[in-house]
Each structure stands twice: as structure tokens, then as C-alpha cells.
Symmetry: C2
Subunit: 570 residues, 2 copies
């Protein structure tokens, strides 16, 4: 099915859903029911929430409606007639009244009629295999102050196999859900009663975060970047100057207003790096300047779109700004692309999709400069033989950009890395350097992020690895499991030997060895050392690998050497 066909298919499925609900619960009020990126939903207003049993009944009724193979037909009405039809549907009436013109289009199947623009399949029988997936609360029109609705999600396909594969995919995605794994593995928490979309990293999650951040810093320093640290707030005057209060206000937290001054939490790091740049005169000899910061920014995302670590209100950008001459731009972009590939590979992402976004209708800077910058980006991609798509007109108002979307092991796409040229900020802040003839020139400013956001990237990693982090990232790399109490001293001694090299814990509980192994497997510890009489007598360690089983018996020295090699430590 192409995209249009698919939309018709799912939209018709949502009408079948609403039709079925109306048959079973005649008092229900209808909201809206569109096709979505994957599947469909319908919103209903009803006092009691739908139960799993309700969903089963609804599925049955849907099957009947499909079997009846009712024809689905558009019906035109004038507003007067439309009002009469919808007299018991207050939400539909609200939509009707907002419509322009005197005509309203309905779609009708059997005795079900819905205010709807279509298009639809021509009969209900064309929907073959479907499944209702979940119920969730939603607000009418997404507005927290309006009625609370119940949204039923579903999916449908022409082929049974497609449905089965999709249900398997959902099941797998559910098992990988970073929110569930985050709690189970004690990695992080959120405390929405004290602010939604804000992440509290627990010790185990913090180890992973620190390792990723340390690695990021080390690689950046090796690649000619310098680090900077900047504040989280600035006087509103800075955001007026940068244009954020004009162009970006709806994404920002409310200002902190005092009698004397107004401060603003930062939604971006750029203006701060510019202030450091402008702190003294820069010469062409200093360029390229590459400044990187793990800068935590705050953006006021709507409550409804927040989602675990993937969509938050406070996140740490792995940000960098490159100031370079026009001549250096292409090479700098190539270097960034190389860095992106290096990092993505390190975390096991081999596949990605690259988009080059060009000049939109509204833009700052001259068309010539846009052309130059776009060419530089394009040449860089060609220089590295990278396939890319062009998103015409999808650049930001301040410059063209390259977006890199990684594919995880479920083939889901995640927007992470971005490389953007900016014509706006250099102009607004009068960013200059002195050329070799003492003349003042404007540098090219490149914004770039590799992970995009540390929080989001860690969320993706949790799902990608299903919580089983590779050895170098595992919060607990090794767990020592003494078979019984009398092996505790040997276990403690072994822990002491290993501690300087790896993150190791001893399971000191008074539990059977099988229980200890099961728990270590559950907690996804990459390696276990089973220590009993035999090991103690021989001064050896029996190594068990997560999800694999026994590996063999080693001396402590040999084990350390082997694991150091695995983790790429020198």
C-alpha cells in the first residue's frame, strides 16, 4: 500500500471502530478518529474507562461490521441539516461550527454517520486483519482544560502476516521500552509531581551517562575540539539580541522576573559561545575554532508530547560550534561527518538515513551564501560517498542543515546528529575575525550535535541494547556469586583483585546459587564469577556470560587481561 492507500485503510478502520463502539455503547459521544503514522485511533467521551473485556467485545462488533461489508459513502449536507444529524454529538458539533462555508461532508456506513473529509475505502469489507492495541486517556483537542477522552488505538493490514509481524514488533518494542527498563534496572526516575519531563539519574544510570560523556569529551579533545562551560541562565537582553524571544518564545520556560532584572533559562547554548568568541578579537590564524559543551538546556515542551527520556523538558545537548573561514567549511563538515560515523559505530548503529535540508521560504542571509553553504554540505557528503536525500525548503530559517537519523535494531528511525550552518547569529552578534590583510570578515558558524541530547541518546541506547549494555558501558560489569557462605572470604579477595580494573559487586545474600544467577541475569550483568570449593581450591574463577552460560575457568590475572581486551582498554 502506498501512503494514501494506507491512510484510507486506517481511516476506514477507525470508522469501523467508532461504529462498533456506538453499537455497543449507544450513549457514548464521539470525538475524532484519524489514521496516524502507524495505525489509527478514535477518541470517545464516556464516564467509565474501557476495560480489556470491552475491547474484546468491540473487536467482535468490528468483525461483524467488516463481515456485513457495508458500503462507505460520502454525503453532503448543509449546516442546518448537519446540525440536526449531530444534535447528540457535542464534540462533533463543535467541529462543525468551526468549519468554514455552508457545506459539511459526512461519511456513512450502514446506520453510522460521521462528520469527516475522507477519503475512505469504498466498503467496510475491504479491511481484512485488525487488532485493537490499547486505551489511553487524552484531552479533547489536546487541551488540558477540556474534557478527558478515552482514546482506543488499533492497527489493521490487508495480509494476516503483516499484522502478525507488526504485533510481534510491538511486543518486542514493549519489552525494550526504556521507561520500563529504566525502572527495572534502577537507571533513572521522573517525578512529575515536581515537574514533568525532568530526569533524575540514579547511580547506575549515572555510571552509563558518565561513561558516555567521558568518551564524548575524550574523542572531541583528540579531534581538535576545546571544551567550554557556560551558565544555564542569562538576562533576557541576551535572548532579545539572539532573536530567541522573537522566534523561539513558545519553546522557552517562563522568564524569571524581578524588579531589577529578568532572567531566562537557556533553550540553546549558542549565544553563550558567541559571547566567549566576541570576548576578544580573533584572527584568521586561530580558525577553525571548535568549541564543545555538554550544555543542559530547558525547553517547555507540551505535557502531551513528553515521553520518557526521548522527549523531555530538560536535556543535555552534546553541542559544538565551529567558527571557520569559507574555505575551511567543507573540510570541517567532512570532519564532523567522520566523527558522527565514528560515534554511531561505537554504539552499534550501522545504518542511518541522511537528509540535506535546503533554503526555506523565510530565511536570513543572502541567496549566494545559502548556495555556498548548501554546496559545502553537499560536497562534504559526496566527499565521503554518503547517500542522502534532499528535503527541499526544510532548512532552518538561519541556514541549511544535514540531519542524520539512525536505525535501531527494530529498524526504527531516530533523529540524532545534526550539522547546521548559521547565518543569523554571526550577523546579530557582529561576529568577526581579522583576515590576513587586517580586514574584518564574518566567519562561517557551524552548529553540530552528534547524539543530539544525552538523555534521548541514552533512551535510544537502552532500547537498542534492551538494557543489556555492552561490557564497557555496563553499570555493573561483573558480579561475584559465592556458592555458599564459606566461599565469602574468597569472593571478597577476588573482588579486591578485580576492583581496580572493573566495576564489580559481590552477591552477599544468603540465597541459593541458582537464585543468584537468575537475579544477575535479570539485572543484565554481563559477566558472573561463580566461586565454590573447586575454584577456591584451585585459586581459579569460573566465568559465566549473560544470556550465554559458562565460558570457562580462569586465573584472576588471565580474566582481567581477557576482559580488558574485550572492553578495548589498553
Amino acid at each position: 500500500m502506498d501512503k494514501n492507500e494506507q491512510e484510507k485503510y486506517w481511516h476506514t478502520s477507525s470508522h469501523i471502530l467508532a461504529h462498533a463502539v456506538q453499537r455497543l455503547f449507544p450513549d457514548i459521544k464521539l470525538g475524532t478518529g484519524p489514521a496516524i503514522e502507524k495505525g489509527f485511533y478514535y477518541d470517545f467521551y464516556r464516564k467509565n474507562p474501557f476495560t480489556p473485556e470491552d475491547l474484546k467485545l468491540i473487536e467482535k462488533a468490528m468483525s461483524s461490521i467488516i463481515k456485513e461489508n457495508l458500503s462507505v459513502e460520502p454525503v453532503k449536507k448543509n449546516k442546518e441539516e448537519a446540525r440536526a444529524i449531530l444534535k447528540d454529538e457535542p464534540f462533533k458539533l463543535e467541529i462543525l461550527e468551526a468549519l468554514e462555508g455552508e457545506q459539511a461532508i459526512f461519511y456513512k456506513q450502514g446506520n453510522f454517520i460521521d462528520l469527516c473529509q475522507g477519503p475512505h475505502l469504498s466498503s467496510t469489507g475491504q479491511v481484512k486483519h485488525f487488532k485493537l492495541l490499547s486505551v489511553a486517556a487524552s484531552y479533547w483537542r489536546g487541551d488540558e482544560k477540556r474534557e478527558s477522552m478515552q482514546r482506543i488505538y488499533g492497527i489493521s493490514f490487508p495480509e494476516k502476516q503483516e499484522l502478525e509481524e507488526y504485533l510481534k514488533f510491538i511486543e518486542e518494542a514493549k519489552e525494550r521500552d526504556h521507561r520500563t527498563l529504566g525502572t527495572k534496572l534502577d537507571l533513572f526516575s521522573m517525578h512529575p509531581e515536581f515537574g514533568s519531563g525532568l530526569i533524575y539519574w540514579h547511580p547506575k544510570g549515572s555510571i552509563i551517562r558518565k561513561l558516555v560523556e567521558d568518551f564524548w569529551k575524550e574523542i572531541h579533545l583528540k579531534n581538535g575540539y576545546e571544551l567550554v562551560y557556560t551558565p544555564h541562565i542569562a538576562d533576557i537582553a541576551l535572548w532579545d539580541k539572539s532573536g530567541h524571544t522573537g522566534f523561539y518564545k513558545e519553546n522557552m520556560f517562563a522568564p524569571m522576573v524581578t524588579e531589577a532584572k529578568t532572567f531566562q533559562l537557556k533553550p540553546m547554548n549558542c549565544p553563550f559561545h558567541i559571547l566567549i568568541y566576541n570576548n576578544r578579537l580573533r584572527s584568521y590564524r586561530e580558525l577553525p575554532i571548535r568549541w564543545a559543551e555538554l550544555g543542559t538546556v530547558y525547553r517547555y515542551e507540551k505535557q502531551g508530547v513528553l515521553h520518557g527520556l526521548l522527549r523531555v523538558r530538560g536535556f543535555t545537548q552534546d553541542d559544538a560550534h565551529i567558527f571557520c573561514t569559507e574555505e575551511q567549511a567543507e573540510e570541517e563538515v567532512i570532519k564532523v561527518l567522520d566523527l558522527v560515523c565514528f560515534f554511531l559505530k561505537k554504539f552499534g548503529f550501522a545504518d542511518y538515513r541522511i537528509c540535506l535540508s535546503t533554503r526555506p521560504e523565510k530565511f536570513v542571509g543572502t541567496p549566494e551564501n545559502w548556495q555556498k553553504a548548501t554546496t559545502a554540505l553537499e560536497n562534504a557528503l559526496k566527499g565521503r560517498n554518503m547517500n542522502y536525500e534532499i528535503d527541499p525548503g526544510e532548512g532552518v530559517f538561519y541556514g541549511p542543515k544535514i540531519d542524520i537519523k539512525v536505525k535501531d535494531c527494530l529498524n526504527r528511525e531516530w533523529q540524532c546528529s545534526t550539522i547546521q550552518v548559521d547565518f543569523n547569529i554571526p550577523e546579530r552578534f557582529d561576529v568577526k575575525y581579522t583576515g590576513n590583510e587586517g580586514d574584518f570578515k564574518t566567519p562561517i558558524l557551524i552548529h553540530r550535535a552528534i547524539f543530539g541530547s544525552i538523555e534521548r541518546f541514552l533512551g535510544i541506547l537502552i532500547e537498542h541494547y534492551k538494557g543489556s549494555f555492552p561490557f564497557w558501558l555496563a553499570p555493573e560489569q561483573l558480579r561475584i556469586l559465592p556458592i555458599s557462605d564459606r566461599h565469602m572470604p574468597y569472593a571478597e579477595k577476588t573482588a579486591k583483585d578485580i576492583e581496580p580494573h572493573f566495576r564489580v559487586q559481590v552477591d552477599r545474600r544468603n540465597e541459593k546459587i541458582n537464585r543468584k544467577i537468575r537475579d544477575a541475569e535479570e539485572e543484565k550483568v554481563p559477566y558472573m564469577l561463580i566461586l565454590g570449593d573447586k575454584e577456591e581450591a584451585g585459586g581459579t574463577l569460573s566465568l559465566r556470560k549473560h544470556k550465554t552460560g559458562m565460558v570457562g575457568t580462569f586465573s584472576a590475572e588471565k580474566l582481567i587481561k581477557m576482559l580488558r581486551e574485550e572492553s578495548g582498554q589498553p
Copy 2:
């Protein structure tokens, strides 16, 4: 002189200053002129600022007043008479009107009379050796909305040698001023037009900050701490619960008020760590829990008290919270004391003063618990044979504390480390653990910081080291100085050899070698490598040490080994 004598001495000196100014500039209006911690000042209202020449004239006039040896006498007046005396002194009148009662005390010397409580020396001739130090702008009554005054600072001593020593100290302190060195060495900047008291770390300063932070984290992890990361903001509800909106509001930034929610920038990290603790049930087996965070907090300090890195509005606490049982408290405090000593020693602070602050009049918790906690702190100090003073009643309302003030190389004291027991937060947040009989118990909560604030500690370090950071902390550890252009290839090759081990730069400028050496000395680079014909021919490196001169000639391999040893690298 004891403290009272000293105050009289400096207070009388300030009257002599005002007297002299009045003689020279009869139109001037008097502000106030107290003795301060070190010396005295007097505030004057005058259109034109005082020039260095003015100060010289004033010093001359002061010498005359001292020579005249005028007797200094208190004079009582009723308000009516006082008003008449002060009719041309609007600032003094303002003070007079605010006085309670019908009496006003003046001090008089010759024809100079000042509204003043005293006490004073009995004659001007008792002031022996003095010096005016500086002029600075100040606001009348410290209020930005009031008149701008000119404050003249001075110092005086009975003995000439004391004055000379003090002037030398000032000179030395000025040379060590971290604000001057921060700019000169390109370490950090501030941008008060976009918010005062907020620090922007430049690449060189960021290297130092990163090294200090990495070291801090490494040592904490080795000492049984775990790291956490928490947000910079929370819903105001959290600060209501913690008591900050009640007890701490004046130190907090203005809230971010939106229709739906009010958010507050964090002035402290504690409540966030508590939320992580309370995220699940904790058992006595898990205690002690030690959670550390480099948490950046924001406090709305008054504009007038801000001072470089030492007093800022945004700073990073090297914070940790220890949750332990009552029985563990003393040992935990000992461990913190050991850690404090370890860190202070690492940065060359050998001398410090320790204060134990006990229960204040207003307090939360029971007297018994206060006694236990104070005893635990005291026993820990005794256990480590540490000398300490008791500050009776100077504990925070929530618990007793130990403060550790380091002495720098100018013998100035800086409050850095603090160890505090908290009875407030565990109660407010119902913090519990299950004891070994399944009963719920309240843990002891210890707040502690070693540096206090990263920004402040780095400010102290800059002054302590006078910008000459030890090898391991120096942003640029080695600079390679080719004697002429033809030695550039050898210089670049050498840089490549050294890069994997140390932070090295090549001076590629077309300058004479002496100029290159002078600049490297100015920029306080610990080591220079001078490379010329001789070195190139022999494949050797001539090493020069900052402020010391030539050390000798080495092979690259030997040099690296030697410097690794110096920096304590394995």
C-alpha cells in the same frame, strides 16, 4: 592591638580622612565612614571622581591633621540642635531622622564634627602611619536606586613596619587577583550586561575545571561514593515541601510562573537526592548510601557582594549526601574529614582552621538528637586529632556542622569544606529505611562539600598558585619553541610525539626565540622545549622550566617519562 583598639584606630583614621576631604573640598557631602575588617573607608558625595592627585593632596592634609594632634571628643546634642549642625549634610540628616530617641551623639575634632556613636582614640595624633589605598563607586546605603557615592579606602597602623608589610601584602594580593589573571591567561569571562555573577569558562579555564572535576569524581568513586545527576529546576511544590520557599526565598531567583505551573531554579541539590532515595524502599543493608553530584545551583546574591569567581550567582557545588544509621555517623564523618584533608593537600593547602558550630536558638529536631549529632562530629574530630574551635549557637537551624577554612599562601582564610548533619529534610520528606527487624527508622543525613563551589575553589586556586598552575593542572603543559623557521618540521614532529601524553602547543609565530620564551613565561606555561640546530642534529630536546630556566637536554622518551613521574601519572 586587640579588636576593639583596632576598630577605634581605624574609625578615627576615617574621621581624619573626612576632615581632610572637607578642608580641601568644602562643598562635598559626607556619607558614612566606618572601620572595616582591614582598615577603613569614608563615602563622599561629589560630582567629579577623586583623581590619584586628589588622594595625594588628601594624604597631605591628613598628615597635617595628625600633626595638629586635635583632641577627639564626644558631644551630646538634642535632635533640634543636631539638625542645625547637619543642615548642609543631607545624608547625615537622613541618618539622624532614623535615630530613635531625642539624643544624638557627635564626635568633634577641631572644626570637624560628625554624627557618630564612637568610640574613638582621644586625639588625632595617635594615628601614626597611614595610606589611602583606592577609590571605588558605591551606592548610598548600598541601594542601586540611590545616589552614587565615592568611597575612599585607607589603612593605618601604629608601627611603620606594619604598614609596609600590609602594603606589600596588598601589592602581592593584587598581582594574584584571579579576575586579572583570569583575563590575562584567558581562563574565563563574565558578561554582566547579560547577567552578573555568571561565569563563562574559556577553553583554557575549562581544561582546569575539567581536570579538577574529573579528579574529584575519580576519588569519590574510589571512596565508596556513587554519582547522580539531577535537574536544575523543579516545580515550586518541591521547594514548598523542602521549606526553601519559607526559609530561603530571599536567596532564590524569581520563580518561572506560567498559567499551569510554577518552576523554580534550584538553590540547593538536597531535595533532588531525597527524591531519588525515596523512589523505592531502602533497607539498613544498603546503608551507608553516599551520593555525590557536581550540581550547579543558582542563588540571587546582591549585586554589591558579587566578586569574580569568589561570590557568584551560579555555581557548581561539589555536593554529596550521606544516608547512614546513627551508629555509622561518626565513622562517616571521619571518612569525610580524611577526604577533605586528602583533597586540600593535593592542591597545596596544608594549613586550615576548623570550627564546630553547635545548636542555635531556633532549631528543628530534638535536643537529644542534636546532642548525639554534635558528639558524633566532635568525636570524629578528636578521632583524627584535629584542632578545632567551637562556635556556640552557630549551627544551621537544621543541624550542627563542621566548617573548614583553608589558609592560602598569603595566609588569607577561605571557607571551603563543610560537613552538616540535617534533621529537617528527613522529617519533611519522611525519609526512612527498614531496620533489621523490619521496623521503619529515620537515617542520619549528612550534607557535605569539599571545595564548596567549583567556581570559588578555582578562584582561590588561581590566587594561591598566582596563575602558575602545577604541571598536572596547567592548561598548556609544554610549549615547543623552534628557534627559527627551519626548525619547524622538527618542532611539529616533537609535538606529535608528546601529544598523546601531555597538552602541548607549538609556537609557530615568526618571532625571535627570546620573545617566544618571554611570552611563554608570561603565560605561565610550566615547561618549554627550545629546539634549534643542535637539538635537531642530536635528536634531543632542550627543556626550560617556568621561572627557573634551563633544566637540561633530553630524549623525547626520557622527557616523557620524567614528566609523567612529576605529574603522578602511571
